[in-house]
């Protein structure tokens, strides 16, 4: 069953067509990748799904309901969470506070609860703290929970972002270039992590990635876009052998990756 169905999505801004009539499915419980050369419109797709861009036309249906015209925070409440291409943490706050931001959409305490501190509010506060600590341990960053996010190494910032995303207990996790800036060993453990959290929390994963190796290893389905148009779709093997894909993408991109230049 498709957890998310993107139907005939078009997105234009100031004369540029970022996405053109894109249709795709993300199956429940799958790991699906969206690939394409730089500027192919991948991040625009994410921005449309998460409500940061307004689609010009078309529909995005998630869990049976349309996401069109919803605000980003409402989409988060529906169970979609994203990570950012260049890690976007709350830099002047601690790791723990960052992860607590993930619990915002799964907790309820209002201003009255905050002021009255009645037992329900205190219980919830305790619960979100425990949940945050659980995910801090899960991603292996628990020891650094009191450090300011901006003082962390890049790897630890990534981990914090993961913990933050998981703390919102999402149904669908959108990963925007999760392997950017990681070395070979870290990439392998990333693949492990993606698989592990799918089985641990039954999360569906939809990711954008430049690193072909990672995409081919981890995904069950690969969707290829170029200039906002879908040019191929299928299993990693099917996509790798598709002549159109090779022409549009693999030929030019592989060299770049080997040089280690990752945008």
């Amino acid at each position: 069953m498709a957890l998310m169905h993107v139907d005939d999505l078009t997105m234009r801004f100031s004369g540029i067509t970022a996405i053109e009539r894109l249709t795709l499915d993300v199956q429940e419980g799958s790991i699906t990748s969206l690939i394409g050369p730089n500027g192919a419109g991948k991040t625009s797709v994410f921005n449309c799904i998460t409500g940061f861009y307004k689609a010009t036309s078309g529909d995005i249906v998630f869990d049976g309901q349309s996401l069109i015209n919803l605000k980003p925070y409402q989409i988060t409440y529906r169970g979609i969470i994203r990570t950012f291409q260049n890690v976007r943490l709350f830099k002047n706050m601690t790791v723990l506070e960052n992860v607590l931001s993930g619990t915002h959409s799964v907790s309820k305490q209002s201003i009255f609860g905050a002021l009255a501190r009645h037992s329900a509010a205190r219980l919830e506060e305790k619960a979100v703290l425990e949940s945050a600590e659980y995910f801090l341990e899960y991603t292996g960053i628990y020891n650094k929970r009191h450090e300011l996010a901006r003082n962390l190494s890049y790897g630890d910032q990534r981990r914090t972002e993961w913990a933050r995303a998981l703390a919102s207990q999402p149904k669908l996790l959108l990963l925007d270039e999760p392997a950017a800036g990681l070395n070979r060993g870290e990439k392998d453990s990333l693949i492990e992590l993606i698989r592990k959290l799918r089985s641990d929390f039954s999360i569906t994963v939809f990711l954008i990635e430049h690193d072909m190796d990672l995409v081919m290893k981890v995904s069950e389905k690969v969707i290829v876009v170029n200039f906002g148009v879908k040019i191929a779709e299928g299993t990693p093997n099917q996509v790798q052998t598709n002549p159109q894909v090779i022409e549009a993408y693999l030929g030019s991109e592989e060299e770049e990756d080997e040089d280690g230049f990752i945008s």
Binding site: Y73, I111, E125, L129, H146, L148, S168
Partner: protein, 334 residues
């Protein structure tokens, strides 16, 4: 800075903090026994600024919104109470809910449409709104035009008419404590964290499920309500109010207290407010320095922004949300 570190370490220890706070409360409660009326009045003035600064701190410090017309918020409270007492002969204590309601409605009217926009528009809208409030007060009959409202009767509290300086000292001391509790509880809650996320990165906050528009409006409204209540008490303490008490300089003073003290940090804001209330008194008899005050503040403001944007109050060593004790050993200083 080592000195700062030591103070900070002391403050991070929960037991020490409580002991210091308890001692402070006792000292503050006993002070009126030893001080003359002049000093009591200066302290009252400091409390008054603390209340305003704490209210504005919710808007500026917690949520990162720039409000340049905070004086209008307490003008609204002061005038609501003043008019209800003088024209409609209400009891002071009954005017408080009315003042709260008017403040909240005004905040929703101004904040509602503007907070959807870029945050920095709020700065100019609040400034414009403050001018509208001031000019309206100066030109309307019900607000007593330029002379304002005078001879507002003092209220009673359980049969005691609040007339002496030490009465007002205690009233405002209690208000300060209430505001500290409110500020602290908001800060260490889901709401307070949501405001901090907005301040740090609005887009990321939104991506984490924070309804940024309504939380900004919430912060703005709470700040305005706190200002309104302060204004109501100000009106009966002073017994007279006039448009000149609510001008732009007043708004800037409160903003400076919040920023210089340390945005979002309650002790910093309190010390900042006390500084702004007491500083003019120290140089009262030296006219040149008195006049140069705002120039000096301007320079200080730029210097602080360039070198220490987080304000002059020292940072936490290992900060922890939820009001839990910080760990002295985790030295995570910037």
């Amino acid at each position: 800075m080592q000195y700062f570190t030591k103070i900070r370490q002391l403050l991070d220890n929960k037991f020490a903090t409580r002991a210091i706070l308890a001692a402070l409360c006792v000292i503050m409660a006993l002070l009126p026994l030893f001080l003359n009326n002049y000093v009591l009045n200066v302290l009252w003035n400091a409390f008054f600024y603390m209340l305003l600064a704490m209210g504005l701190n919710i808007i500026v410090g917690y949520c990162g919104l720039c409000d340049l017309g905070y004086a209008a918020k307490f003008a609204i409270g002061a005038y609501t109470t003043g008019i209800l007492i003088k024209t409609y002969h209400w009891n002071f204590w009954l005017t408080l809910p009315a003042s709260l309601a008017v403040s909240i409605i005004a905040a929703l009217l101004i904040g509602g449409p503007t907070l959807k926009l870029r945050s920095d528009y709020l700065a100019i809208v609040t400034l414009g709104f403050a001018e509208i409030v001031r000019i309206t007060a100066r030109n309307s009959n019900i607000t007593g035009s330029a002379t304002g409202i005078s001879a507002i009767p003092r209220p009673s509290f359980f049969g005691i008419r609040l007339v002496k300086p030490n009465h007002w000292y205690y009233v405002f001391l209690v208000l300060v404590i209430i505001f500290i509790i409110i500020s602290g509880r908001i800060r260490n809650s889901r709401v307070g964290r949501a405001l901090a996320f907005i301040r740090e990165d609005e887009d990321a906050a939104q991506a984490m499920g924070v309804n940024t528009t309504s939380y900004k409006l919430l912060a703005y409204t709470i700040g305005a309500a706190m200002g309104g209540i302060t204004g109501s008490f100000y009106a009966v303490k002073m017994t007279s109010i006039s448009p000149s008490s609510f001008d732009f300089t007043q708004s800037v003073n409160i903003l400076l207290a919040v920023i210089l003290g340390g945005m979002g940090k309650i002790p910093g804001v309190i010390v900042g407010a006390a500084f702004f209330a007491i500083f003019p008194e120290l140089f009262r008899d030296i006219p040149v320095i008195g006049d140069m005050r705002m120039l000096f503040f301007g320079i200080l403001l730029i210097a602080v922004m360039l070198n220490r944007p987080q304000g002059l109050w020292p940072d936490k060593l290992g900060s922890e949300p939820g009001g839990l004790p910080g760990d002295i050993n985790t030295v995570g200083r910037r």
